[in-house]
Structures are given as C-alpha cells and as structure tokens.
Symmetry: C2
Subunit: 330 residues, 2 copies
Amino acid sequence: MEIRDLGEQGLLAMVKRFCPLEVVGDDAAVLSPVADQSLVVTTDMLVEGCHFSDRTTPAIAVGWRSVSANLSDLAAMGASPLGITVALGLRGETPINWVEQLYEGMAECLDQFQTPIIGGDICRSPINTISITAIGTVAPQRIIKRSTAQPEWAIMVSGAHGHSRAGLELLLNENLGASLSETEKRSLQHHHQYPQPRLDILPSLQKLWDSDPHLIIAGMDSSDGLADAIVQISQASGVGARIEAQKLPHSNSLFQLAPAETVLDWVLYGGEDFELVLCLPCDRAQQLIKHIPGSAIIGVTTTETETILLTGTHSNSEIILTQKQGFQHF
Amino acid sequence: MEIRDLGEQGLLAMVKRFCPLEVVGDDAAVLSPVADQSLVVTTDMLVEGCHFSDRTTPAIAVGWRSVSANLSDLAAMGASPLGITVALGLRGETPINWVEQLYEGMAECLDQFQTPIIGGDICRSPINTISITAIGTVAPQRIIKRSTAQPEWAIMVSGAHGHSRAGLELLLNENLGASLSETEKRSLQHHHQYPQPRLDILPSLQKLWDSDPHLIIAGMDSSDGLADAIVQISQASGVGARIEAQKLPHSNSLFQLAPAETVLDWVLYGGEDFELVLCLPCDRAQQLIKHIPGSAIIGVTTTETETILLTGTHSNSEIILTQKQGFQHF
C-alpha cells in the first residue's frame, strides 16, 4: 500500500503512534525546559538521492541517521536533547511500510536518550525529503564552542574515524573486503548506517566540569570529516594545530579494504563518523580519555596559523590540512 | 547567476547576512529563554508546485508566507516568538536572486516581531523545499489549547475570512474583478501573498489575563479554514457550536467576484487567512473584541455535539459543518 491510498488523516494517525500523547493535537508542541539552562537548536535537511538512497540505506537507517546527525550537533555543543520535530515531504507512491520503517529508525535512535518527537508536518513532494530540528539544553557556562580553543591544548577525538566511509564502500561494492570476516564487514556497514551521536560522553564532561567549574572545552562534531573539524576549530579559535597521523584511532580492517593512503583519506575526509573533536588543557584531556573507551589524544593546538598533519613512522613529514576535501552540498 | 555557480560557501555567506552575528558558526544556535516560560515549537514544510508557484507567489511572498504560517501557529497557542530555523532544499538552477528575495520576505515578516533566524541548513534538491521550525515562549497557565472550550462560551474570530482565497482567484484569473477598484484588488491579493500572523492580538489577551488570572481561552488559527478550526475546537473540547453566517466578517468586495454561495464557501473553507478562532466566556469576549478592530463574535459553543451554521436572513436554516472540505495534503 502506498501513502496516497492512506490519505493525510490515515498517515497522521500512523505517525502519531511514534509521538507522546500529550504533545499531539494543538498547533504547536509545548515543552517545559529546566530553569537556568540555555536552549540549543539545530536543523538538518535530508533529500532522497542526495543524502540517502535505497541502495545503501534502508528506511530504518535513514530514520536513524537523520536523528543521529541532529543529536550529534547537540552533543557537539554539550547539550542534552529535549525533543525533535520532523517535517516530511513524501512522494505519493512511497510505500506506507517505508514511512513506518523511517519512524521506527528515528524512534530507536531517540529512545536511547529518552527523547520524544514533539511535532511535525507531512506534505506531498516530488521527492522524499526529511527535515529535522532538534532542541536541547545546556548550562550556559558549559557550552562547547568552536572558537574557544587556546594554544598548547590537547586535541582529542571521541573515537575512530573512517569507519563510516569504509562501510559505505562495502555497501556499494559487494566484492570488496573478501579477507574480512562477516562480523568485521557488518561492523563497518553498521557504522555507516547507524552512526551513534556521542551524547554518551556528556556525563564524563560534566564530571570534569564539576571538579573544575571554570574549565573551557572547545570542539565540534566530525560529521563533515575529521580534517574539516580540526581546521574549523583552529580557524574559529585563531590557533594552529599539529596532528600525528599515527595517533589517529582506526580499525586495522580498513587496511584490508584499501591502500594506506586511501585509508588515511577516509579517516581525514570520509565524514559522517559523528565523533566529537574536543580541545582542552592537556591534563584534563588525559583525565577524560580514561573514561571514554576508543578515544585518543591526536595532537595539540599551537600558536601557528596552520593545521599540520605529521606523517611517517617518525612523524617527520608535514602535510597541511585544509577543508577543501570536506563535504560540499553544491 | 544560479546557485550552483555560487557554491555552498558562497550561498552560506549570502544567507548569513540575514542572521544575527552571534548565532552563526557553531553546530547549533544558543538561545536564553525567559525563566518560568513554557517552550512552544512548531514546524512546517513547503514544497514548490504544491504550496507555492511562481505564478501566484513571488519569492519574497514565499518567504513571508512560510514564516507567517509558523508564527501563526505560535500565536494560536498564545506564544511569543523566540526565533526560527530555516532548512532549504534548492535546485541547482535556482537564481541566486530568488533565494535572496526569499530571505528578504522571511526577514520582513520576522522583523515586525524582532524575531531572528537562529539556524538553518541548505542542501541541493530536485525541488525547492522550505522547512521552518519556530520556537516561542508562553506562561504555562496562559497556553491556548483546542481542547479547553466550555459550552455557552462565545466563539470569536480575530478578523475576516475568505480574503486569501479571493486574492488567489484574482491572481489566477486576470479577467476577474472588473468591477473592483485597483486598491480593492491589491488588498485581496496582498492578503493571499502576505498574510499577517495575529501575534498583535497577544497584548490584548495578556490584559484580559492580568485582570482575570484564572481565565481559560481555547482556540487555534484558521490556516486550514474557518470551518475546520471551529470543528476541531468543538471536537477536541467535546462541545457543539452554533455559528451565525450573517455575523461572519468579510469584505463586500468578495460579492463582486463570485455568487453569495461561493463567497460563503471561501469564507468557511478557503483557508490560509491565518486569523485566530477563540472560545472564551461571553463577557470576556465582548471586552476583547473592543480592542481588536475587525474581530467579531460569530456564535456560541453548545452542549450539543454538532457544529451548526445558521443561514438565511433570520438565521432559520441549519447546515452542519464538517472538516471534510478542509485542506488535504494527499
């Protein structure tokens, strides 16, 4: 059955199953934020054929990823989610099952963080389009910004990069990865289809702040690529950065899919890993990585203006990183 | 010049001109809401060819209308706007000028209420698509809901209905309205292209509440039609309604465009007038309409279950109103 057979009321009735009862029925949803918290708001639009396709992304993964991208933006600011709105443009011939699966995926990702869908809109469109706005809260003195890094701070990542891109390659090319086990393949594909927003890190950050209320943490997420994140933080903060390639965490299975140079390209420019890239004083960073499995300090900020990647076994080759290979929408 | 020539960075630079400086640059925007206020969140998606077309709506009007629809949803809950996010899907061959005009229209509508664009996303799409989320605040005890009307309350409208639909007819058919003055024609077309969200009414409501803190006001906006709004409020509140056709405010110029029966249809089902339909105790409604030029009490809620329209010079004919002619998206 297609959604044009269901009609607007039928479609809304289906979608309402995924929303808490108390928010449905008025022109807008009502939320009660915690006192003395700042609101953080982020929005994303995903278009069929551009951001997702049936070939690599089943509807349930489209739903998961679209929510994950927005929650990752909240995590990148240090904010906890309060709720999301979902605006959907749907082709009339879209199977009802696709829409149900889309909401299942969104709900699964949201349920991890007890976050409700608080509102939405559905309309007909020549192309399936999803627009999500996420709202979160954060204590004003604990907002993570791109622009507040200082020289000689540690640059850390919350986890490995390149996995999402490797997973995409595996999904696009069935012959790839013959030497990988099924579990390794699945794990990389899972990274691409069901990336985790790193909201799980926030409690560790809160502990740091509880012991040092004046601590400043700069950062952003790596959704547009690790290199892009480092360059953006450096530029916004007016600092340079030196990153050591051999400290970048990544799974060895990547080297069974592509030559080392390609793997480094995936790690730096692959994007969509949704990890956090944070800058903070070195001693605090050392404390923090102990509480976040898979995280690593990958370099330091400098008083220079360039973002430099040190490669080679003795970190004796320098490459200047730029944003230019980052994700461009037009 | 088309947006594909401008590239993502160029496009973002252009769009940022319309956003306050302090909200641009991080993964998400930060807002500081007033303490003890509830948040109200609403979202809408508009798709080219479905919700707007170049024939009846220049880009500046598309921008204005898309903002107006969202601000109207806030007004309908009694909430004042805090900010909006804008997600845009754009065809590569869209003229840059069209996008600029779109933002001009949004900014003009927003500036009336000192409301900023606090965030957004732009991506490529086979069809121009606009998704707006508006965030507002309201004192928790002053939220206007659909479900809180009581029997024997007055039903009032904040202004005339049918004008937007009449304006659309004039835009679609140049030969129509030969007996109308240019000013009358322009006024109706303006109603269609630049509808006003009725946020201007909120101060009058606050005055009522200041003198009677326990006052409950039920209501919603009439974006999907006046009949739809009355039926929705009645059903959500479990009351009936009796509306007198001769009390419905509308301009006489409508009768020069269409026979009386068609005019009544435009008034009841035309939609997109973005007025408020409010239910409150009769004495309070009498007070309120004195402060809102063009508003009128059009009927009363009842203990019946039906929404009845009384027509004829002596209001002696009864028609049962339903939602069924309301705007359907699929």
